[in-house]
């Protein structure tokens, strides 16, 4: 017994080292089930406040480009209104073109206060939270296209997976043929993502448009994702390996819109009934 105590005392540094490493690895594994790490991410009050006040400084440098973008978006929206004279637009809700296909979306404008592109799993922190109506599983888009999806919400901030995150992929389709497949990022280049699940018989060409499919309740159908950059036909496989050039420039994100599908619950309830 005494020998054991002496051994423990002599090697306490090694044992403490082992303990802390085991703790770290447990954290790495458990972060996957992200419900458990509710407060240990950058949308918690302290970290988000720091990011928020710091991004206020950096924002002045991007004012010019944000202005240009807003002006362009305004012009697009105005032409959209001209197409849809019968839809009433209230100040807080813009009914998207998707109204025609019988589904209703609301958009919440948010500022990106932290964003990374070079990690293996990239996240976006936004300055809107539960008190503004943001909930997990809502899509994030900007005027160029799909940005990501919300996973965590605190009172006034939220955290989302960006498209550049290996743990999440959008449901995409080729605009021309309507063939759909999952979009996934491989962790290397922030400009490209991969589209899989498109069989060889589908005709496609470099430059084809890739948009969101209608099979997910996260995004409206037809939101821009990117364009086909390169096409490979791996031997012995039935599916193309398609590299998609993303429409959104993730290095220069400033303002985004969070998409709320107002009929999501109804849709979920219906689907659940079929499953049971």
């Amino acid at each position: 017994m005494r020998g054991l105590f002496r051994f423990l005392l002599k090697n306490y540094a090694f044992l403490l080292f082992l303990l802390l490493e085991v703790l770290s690895f447990t954290l790495i594994y458990n972060f996957n089930s992200y419900q458990r790490s509710k407060y240990l991410n950058s949308s918690n009050k302290v970290t988000a406040t720091i990011y928020n006040s710091f991004s206020a400084v950096g924002n002045y440098f991007s004012l010019a480009s944000v202005n240009r973008k807003l002006a362009r978006e305004n012009a697009q929206l105005k032409s959209l209104i001209a197409d849809l004279p019968y839809i009433r637009i209230t100040p807080y809700s813009i009914v998207s073109k998707a109204e025609i296909t019988d589904s209703l979306y609301r958009f919440i404008s948010a500022k990106v206060i932290n964003n990374s592109v070079d990690k293996q799993d990239n996240y976006i922190t936004l300055n809107k939270g539960s008190k503004h109506g943001v909930k997990p599983d809502q899509g994030i888009i900007n005027s160029d296209g799909v940005v990501g999806v919300v996973i965590h919400v605190s009172e006034s901030f939220s955290l989302g997976f960006s498209v550049l995150n290996k743990r999440w992929g959008a449901s995409a389709k080729l605009k021309k043929s309507g063939t759909f497949g999952p979009l996934a990022w491989d962790g290397s280049d922030s400009r490209y993502a991969n589209l899989t699940g498109i069989p060889f018989h589908v005709e496609l060409a470099v430059g084809d448009t890739v948009v969101t499919s209608s099979y997910s309740s996260v995004f409206p159908e037809g939101v821009m994702i990117g364009t086909v950059h390169s096409i490979e036909m791996p031997p012995g496989d039935n599916y193309y390996k398609i590299q998609v050039e993303l429409a959104v420039n993730f290095r220069a994100l400033s303002y985004v819109d969070i998409v709320e599908n107002l009929k999501k619950n109804e849709l979920k309830a219906l689907e659940n009934r079929i499953v049971k």
Binding site: F17, L27, I28, S42, F54, D121, S188
Partner: protein, 167 residues
């Protein structure tokens, strides 16, 4: 004693802020990800009890993890170099030299400090980047990222010694 505690507390906070607000935002094609916050572990006095070095390293890594949404990755890498620190120092030191307790650039020879920093940064970045990717696929790409980022971190850390935390 109070002065030393205050100094290290200040160093801790400023390194965390500089890391998450400035260096985490440096984005050059995914190959340069400098991590300079480990300067805190590097500059702890050599006489600091080992348990304290380990615990402080864990807390530091944990806070960086929360900011970067990578729970556990930075903690694991930082605790690892905290444990390896006495070994690294033994390897690069001559027995005849009497060393100062503070392992800064001005208290030691330039070559000693640079090799000390280089060892620590390389060990840290190796573990960190492979844990982050969590696979040995693309082994060489990750190794390339480790080497470029390490070079960047080493240069920043050595240069910082001419400006702050000199003694």
């Amino acid at each position: 004693m109070i002065r030393i505690l205050l100094k290290y507390a200040l160093m801790f906070v400023s390194l965390v802020l500089v890391q998450v607000l400035i260096f985490n935002q440096v984005q050059f094609g995914g190959f340069f990800n400098p991590y300079v916050y480990i300067l805190f572990v590097i500059l702890l006095p050599l006489s600091t009890p080992r348990y304290l070095v380990l615990v402080l390293a864990f807390v530091l890594g944990f806070i960086i993890d929360i900011f970067s949404n990578s729970l556990g990755v930075h903690s694991a890498a930082t605790v690892f170099i905290a444990y390896m620190r006495p070994l690294v120092i033994r390897i690069i030191s001559n027995r005849e030299d009497d060393k100062s307790d503070y392992p800064g650039l001005h208290q030691n020879k330039l070559i000693w400090f640079v090799s000390y920093v280089a060892f620590m940064v390389l060990l840290h970045h190796l573990l960190l980047f492979y844990l982050e990717v969590y696979t040995f696929a693309n082994f060489l790409t990750t190794l390339f990222r480790v080497i470029l980022s390490s070079l960047f971190s080493i240069i920043v850390i050595v240069l910082s010694q001419f400006l702050v935390f000199r003694d």
